[in-house]
Symmetry: C2
Subunit: 271 residues, 2 copies
């Protein structure tokens, strides 16, 4: 197996990163994918940066041991560990979801304001604010939406409960002056709520989801490293650190297609 035929590794704390895999399968259908969800230890959003970094390095080594040519950190929370991961995993290229999402938001609203919605951990870490403002002082507002992940995992993405919760978090953000012109979904779970989020935010607000923008960035990185796989359709295999059956069942919400339970293996990350 030469470099081109090696799979792309995707890591997330759970199933939310499957929205990134979904975008990758659409953008790069010839690639082979190995997805690892650390379902035994999710959620990462409430964990400290040290703990998240340690878990992300363990998971990435597990993927490298299985021969991946590139690693996508498809978890906004774990993306805070990106510099440490790049150093620990070199020479395997590593890409996160923060920078592609921030770049797309800047493009959508060059003079802002940009609203970022994410988990409590991502908001506190401020990674999106830093990435957006690295290219210039654009105004950014942030809002943590702790109930979005459980809503998404319940498949409760429409209806009065989901609507009330989306309003609860979005109304204060959209009432800021000047009104945000771009809303960045800073958590990989949120794309399954994107129809409702878009309706609530209003049609004059550009919605940016980091899954699609990350898939574009992966395509560019593969081209740079001359690592694109050609030919027949690739396919995906999955590892979960707990409850592979539950992963296959609930994962469908995020991946947008059924997951054969026979393609999901239990893996022990060790510590």
């Amino acid at each position: 197996m030469n470099g081109r035929d090696q799979p792309i590794g995707i890591f997330d704390s759970g199933m939310g990163g499957l929205t990134v895999l979904r975008a990758l399968e659409a953008r790069l259908p010839s690639e082979r994918y190995l997805y690892l969800g650390d379902t035994a230890r999710l959620p990462y959003g409430t964990k400290s940066p040290d703990t998240v970094r340690r878990y992300a390095i363990q998971a990435s080594h597990t993927l490298i041991d299985r021969g991946v040519k590139l690693i996508v950190i498809a978890c906004n929370t774990a993306s805070v560990a990106l510099p440490a991961l790049m150093e620990a995993l070199a020479p395997v290229p590593v890409i996160g979801v923060i920078e592609p999402g921030a770049a797309a938001a800047r493009e959508a609203a060059p003079s802002g304001p940009i609203a970022v919605i994410a988990t409590e951990g991502t908001v506190k870490g401020g990674a999106y604010v830093q990435a957006i403002q690295a290219a210039g002082a654009i105004p950014v507002v942030q809002q943590a939406c702790p109930l979005f992940v459980p809503l998404a995992e319940e498949g409760l993405v429409e209806g009065p409960i989901a609507e009330a919760i989306v309003h609860r978090y979005l109304d204060p953000v959209m009432a800021t002056v000047p009104k945000p012109r771009c809303l960045l979904l800073g958590c990989t779970h949120y794309p399954v709520l994107s129809n409702l989020i878009a309706r609530t935010a209003g049609k004059d607000v550009a919605l940016v989801d980091s899954a699609a923008t990350t898939a574009e960035a992966v395509a560019a990185l593969l081209a740079t490293h001359d690592l694109e796989r050609n030919g027949a359709a690739g396919g995906a295999r999955f590892f979960a650190t707990d409850s592979p059956d539950r992963f296959a069942r609930l994962g469908e919400i995020f991946l947008g297609r059924a997951i054969d339970p026979g393609t999901v293996d239990l893996v022990d990350l060790g510590a």
Copy 2:
């Protein structure tokens, strides 16, 4: 320090078990308490029994190393590991929340039906059904309420969103025929939602929360082993496996009193 003066250890996956500590402090104010919340690895409700057992044994050994005289497994999910814990931790007595809750529910509705609401993991494990029916064939219905824990942790315990979510889970259960006469809160997070749950269930339904019944069972166990502490007020100290500051801040919702951040230490369970 003789046996009587040693602290009582309380273990939970996170902060929900603080409702049990609250009941213990009310029932046994002279005791000293060591509470351990495995906040780095919560929630346990979606983890497999093997993983939960391994984590519970690690946490219990950490408490025993600090000299506790008795361990309360204040976590419904981890209570499924009770037989294994009793064997692994002997001669330190271990008590869970399932059997006291089941006994109180049988007392409240001797011929049933009893409705049990709990996490997905507890419902699947069926521990309450087994414990209730061990004393006779009483009809039991179960309902998993996955959004209750995030609601409680958001402090969102009243208002239209909380009401809609409580109705979503309780209405189908209360519509079963014959109607349940007792509703057992089978998760330590749920007591903070108990006012709303009681209103939704209706006043002809007896509400049983396992925190209060567990405190009674602990009092009885201490008497049996001649281990009751006498004299001045005891007090509590806390260990969290991640984010002690967040533990102190959010824990107040469950403990019903402020937690001094200086009484919360970070602890590493090792694996």
